[in-house]
Amino acid sequence: MGRENFHRILDDTQQNVLRMGSLVEEAITRAVDALSQSDVAAADDILRGDDYIDDLNVLIETNCLNLLALQQPMASDLRTIAAMLDIIIDLERIGDHACDIAQITKNLANEPPLKPLIDIPLMAKKAREMLRESLDAFSHHDASIAHLVPQKDDEVDNLYRSVFAELIQFMAHDAKAIGRASNLILVALYLERIADHATNICERVVYMVEGVPRKLKRSVIEFNEVLARSDQILQSSAGLPDPATSGH
């Protein structure tokens, strides 16, 4: 395999990483749309589409390993291949989270809606923005974008805390809401994880471009703090208005 051929395959593989990213972005958007609209057909479609994401994952991994084994790449080429091997793991997990949300859509399809979904679509939008920008950073080999993206993780985490507290309030008020509310808490958790995966991708891009492994600053959800807040809500729930009656 000549160097020209090596660079052609390397370039094709990078394009495939972006194709995989595009499919995953689409899957997140459609999964949250399906959840908001209780659209079981769309949820089934997302579950079927995950096979294609997995196929791309295998193809990219195989190409990367072949390049490593046959070409002994060095310097930035080596870092690019190493970065791609990590990025596709994050993309594959994000795709799995989109499927998890689609499965929850199917689980909740026959249940009455607990509340209008407002913060969850907002979380999805922000997590997807982070993913999109992390892939922009990869596409343009731009470490400056990669350094900025993790700063948005705070917003996603704050939304997660807010959704969590609100849903605990629903559960405290009505035991029949526990099933639906706990499913929605899982959706929020998946979206928070998606934002974390986007931060992982940014770390890989920084390594790829700058050649120095770096842990980017990210916010951490202290679950003890969240659980303590939940306890407070549970203890004072008797005095709270029924959350289901909110809104005009």
């Binding site: 009455p112 809606p113 997807r128 289901a244 009656t245 809104g247």
Partner: protein, 419 residues
């Protein structure tokens, strides 16, 4: 159709026509025709080029400069997205409209592959297929960029300068059209539902009465039929009011209206209902007369609708307060409740027809879903404005601001003030 110029002299004309049936819009045909015409023109012009004085290295007007400058200007001016991908999969042309649709600057997109710049798997797949097979197609798809959009993509194969193949993509943003269609469907569906529900009840009760029902059940049935009929009349009246206000055909019958007195009358009308709901209804108006030129009945409708909305969303034991006061330029009417509040994300939508914050509770209230939309139109027709402040768990305040003067002449047309 396009003329071919070599060093300023016309050497031929390239033209392209395409079947209108393949495309939804005439401009798509024009765009395609222009692009294909230019491509053919290029090939033709290159074929016609022969060694001569005009091909000397110091030639003042080479063909390519003239052609490229024109093409770029045409592409930039087009209101639809145009993307041309070369045989190597890299973008050679990307106009401003495409940049707006995909949130990518043309400078950043050119020279890159489609998946690098636009990152739409669907577009990448379709344009790759067109490059391979030379067969164009038209599809509609969702694009999840910075904002979710509904796009129509038309692809077509083009010949490039070197005899290779390019792929042309024409992208139309259908997002707003699809949203309007969705609103229209929702509106028809909502109206149908609101009319069918009371009609079904009335039909059942009439059938039961026809089978023979003794008093007192008969009287209860007749009262229910009366209530359901009133509900339908209210809905139809609101729909007609809204249609007239939206079309600008509603004529305001203006006279000198004392806002304080109007508020006191509206509060008195709603007080019995508030008492039945264990809600404290307060009314605070200045002792001096607050007279503005306005349509008395329409303003009464504004206040009644706002009070009705507040009462429906305030729990027992709560408070609703109607207040009117004036500055030198405006009169403000506010309705404040201690209800459950409105989420901030829902606030921009509450004046839309049939909008409900919580669809699960949409049928539990007795409103038609048109009250706030009517309020907004009436206030704006008077040259005023309405704003809302809400806090979840604390309550909501609607404030109507109406001009004291300059609201127009008495008995003027609503449209004049709505603008």
């Amino acid at each position: 159709m396009r003329s071919l110029l070599l060093t300023g002299a016309m050497v031929g004309i390239a033209a392209c026509a395409y079947s209108l049936a393949r495309f939804g819009q005439p401009w798509e045909v024009l765009v395609l025709a222009a692009a294909v015409g230019l491509a053919v023109a290029t090939a033709f012009a290159l074929a016609r080029q022969r060694p001569g004085p005009s091909d000397a290295p110091d030639s003042p007007r080479p063909y390519r400069e003239t052609r490229d400058g024109t093409l770029e200007q045409v592409l930039t001016a087009l209101p639809v997205g145009i993307v041309i991908v070369g045989h190597d999969g890299r973008i050679t042309s990307f106009n401003d409209a495409a940049g707006q649709i995909f949130g990518v600057s043309p400078q950043r997109a050119k020279g890159r592959t489609l998946i690098e710049s636009v990152r739409s798997m669907e577009m990448d797949r379709r344009l790759s297929a067109t490059l391979r097979s030379a067969v164009g197609e038209t599809i509609e798809f969702s694009y999840a960029g910075a904002a979710r959009r509904r796009l129509r993509l038309t692809t077509q194969a083009l010949a490039d300068d070197g005899g290779g193949r390019q792929a042309l993509a024409i992208i139309a943003d259908l997002t707003s059209i699809r949203e309007l269609e969705s609103l229209r469907r929702d509106f028809v569906s909502n109206v149908s539902h609101e009319l069918r529900t009371p009609l079904t009840s009335i039909k059942l009760m009439v059938e039961t009465l026809a089978a023979g029902v003794e008093p007192p059940a008969r009287d209860e049935f007749l009262q229910s039929i009366g209530r359901e009929t009133d509900r339908m009349i209210a809905l139809v009246r609101d729909l007609l009011d809204l249609a007239r206000l939206e079309s600008g055909k509603a004529v305001l019958q203006k006279s000198a209206v004392d806002i304080g007195e109007l508020c006191r009358e509206a509060a008195a009308t709603s007080r019995n209902r508030a008492q039945a709901m264990s809600i404290d209804l307060e009314c605070s108006t200045p002792e001096t007369r607050l007279v503005i030129p306005a349509d008395q009945e329409k303003l009464r409708q504004v206040i009644v609708n706002l009070l009705d909305n507040a009462l429906r969303h305030t729990p027992a034991g709560g408070r609703v307060r109607l207040d009117a006061h004036a500055t030198s330029a405006v009169v403000e009417i506010s309705v404040q409740d201690t209800g459950t509040g409105i989420p901030s994300t829902a606030l921009p939508h509450i004046f839309e027809r049939f909008y409900v914050v919580d669809p699960a509770r949409a049928r539990s209230g007795s409103g038609t879903g048109l009250g706030l939309a009517i309020v907004k139109h009436i206030v704006e027709a008077h040259g005023g404005s309405i704003r809302v402040h809400s806090e979840l768990g604390a309550g909501t305040t609607f404030v109507c601001t109406l001009p004291r003067e300059g609201g127009g002449d008495i008995a003027s047309d609503a449209t004049a003030h709505a603008r």
